[in-house]
């Protein structure tokens, strides 16, 4: 029962903090672009709003699939919270969850039958191709710490100092991964405004609510993993400050860069990945 409570608490924290960070991000972006911007809790309110709105399903959708896939996205990120903050399990498992998330995201787009969703789906496949090399981060972390289990990585950092200083390029690669998940980022080709809202175009009511909840949790989880893996054991304040700092940083980047063409977005990420991989290996050989 205690475990259940911990899980619920963690999921709730993840959801609330994720939404507020998103709101903050939009605010900062707006201010950089000399706009007033929405209030910080806008994203949270937005999410809650969708649960009281009427749900409707497009006539063209692939039926049980269309509903199940949006609910699945939520389930996947809840299990990510269980693997991450609650159980501190294997990092590999976390990346398995991330892979599932990519799939769900891409099929939420294609299952509605909307041409915008379809384009978003094709782009999601493109971008997955770019994010896969970033899994190399995992290998680099493993080579450095000899373990994949998050709790062991934390204790390794407690003994040897944060990994950020020993494998900085891996941290940069992971940051690119986080950046690609942020809305309005140069790599957010799946949700670019040229294809309306991408995979979310045809989701209304509860389904959209599910999608937004899982986006918030995903953002929280990615930041959590980044902070845990590269900064070592942190207190509550540490996590809070770190997450704020990262959100502000991504907001600055997103506000000042244009969205890239899909092919270029991928190749930029792949180039980052290759530089990161070879650079990290060289650094590790050097020290």
């Amino acid at each position: 029962m205690n475990l259940m409570a911990t899980i619920l608490l963690n999921v709730l924290i993840a959801f609330l903090l994720g939404s507020i960070l998103f709101g903050l991000q939009r605010k900062i972006m707006a201010r950089i672009q000399m706009r007033p911007g929405p209030p910080i809790i806008q994203h949270l309110l937005h999410t809650l709003k969708f649960f009281v709105k009427e749900s409707s399903f497009p006539r063209t959708a692939a039926m049980p699939f269309y509903v199940a896939i949006a609910s699945m996205l939520c389930a996947i990120w809840v299990s990510a919270v269980i693997v991450g903050p609650v159980a501190q399990g294997s990092l590999l498992l976390f990346f398995g969850i991330y892979a599932l998330h990519k799939i769900v995201e891409h099929n939420a787009g294609s299952s509605s039958g909307s041409p915008y969703g379809k384009l978003s789906c094709v782009r999601a496949v493109f971008s997955a191709a770019a994010e896969v090399p970033l899994f190399a981060v995992l290998i680099i972390i493993y080579l450095q710490t000899n373990t994949m289990v998050i709790s062991d990585i934390i204790s390794y950092q407690a003994a040897n100092g944060p990994l950020l200083f020993t494998i900085p390029l891996a941290a940069v690669m992971f940051f690119v991964l986080i950046l690609s998940k942020a809305p309005y980022s140069p790599f957010a080709i799946t949700k670019g405004k040229d294809i309306i809202s991408g995979y979310e175009t045809e989701h209304f009511g509860v389904l959209r609510g599910y999608l937004m909840i899982s986006e918030s949790i995903a953002w929280y989880m990615l930041l959590w993993v980044f902070l845990t893996v590269f900064f070592g054991p942190l207190g509550v304040m540490g996590y809070l400050v770190g997450m704020l700092a990262l959100s502000v940083l991504t907001a600055f980047i997103n506000a000042t860069t244009p969205i890239l063409n899909p092919n270029h977005s991928i190749m930029v990420q792949v180039t980052f990945a290759f530089i990161g991989i070879f650079g990290s290996i060289l650094l590790m050989l050097a020290f």
């Binding site: 063409n261 092919n263 270029h264 991928i266 190749m267």
Partner: protein
């Protein structure tokens, strides 16, 4: 902006197999720089080539000892504890195979390719799961080919 154009070219499906094969070819060349050698402690070792046929063994080159239904042959499997009847299949000869064995010296391959024999032992018993997959791959490839053939390439006049 030549790098942008280059990146766009990489998205052309026709170029991908070519690109892949160049990269793979270069990696194969790396193989010449790597010191390699065969580890002689292998599972399922076999006698030197032509050794059994030179001894005029009618079961050459697949004789691994044992006698049908009574005594298991010699099989060096990875996990012998997982296969209770290990070696029995190698030792088994069907009645026809026994007939062939007594008639001629040079049909060992046929004898051991008929039910029984070492390859059957590996393919069906110790590594049977592999064979399931292989026959599934075969089946899927044929389902695919015959479906395309039936619906598109053979009934072309009807369309």
């Amino acid at each position: 902006m030549s790098i942008g154009r280059l990146w766009n070219q990489l998205a052309n499906p026709k170029r991908i197999p070519r690109l892949f094969s160049v990269v793979l070819g270069l990696i194969l060349l790396v193989g010449f720089l790597v010191p390699m050698g065969l580890n002689d402690h292998q599972i399922y070792p076999r006698p030197a080539p032509q050794e059994q046929i030179d001894q005029k063994n009618p079961l050459a080159p697949y004789d691994r000892g044992g006698s049908p239904l009574t005594e298991p042959g010699i099989v060096k499997a990875q996990y012998p504890q997982n296969a209770e009847e290990l070696g029995m299949i190698t030792g088994y000869l069907s009645p026809i195979a026994i007939g062939v064995k007594n008639t001629t010296l040079y049909y060992g391959t046929s004898i051991y390719s008929s039910p029984g024999g070492l390859i059957d032992e590996i393919l069906y018993y110790t590594r049977g799961f592999d064979t399931i997959l292989e026959s599934t791959i075969l089946m899927m490839a044929f389902v695919l080919a015959s479906w395309v053939a039936l619906n598109f390439t053979m009934r072309r006049k009807e369309e």
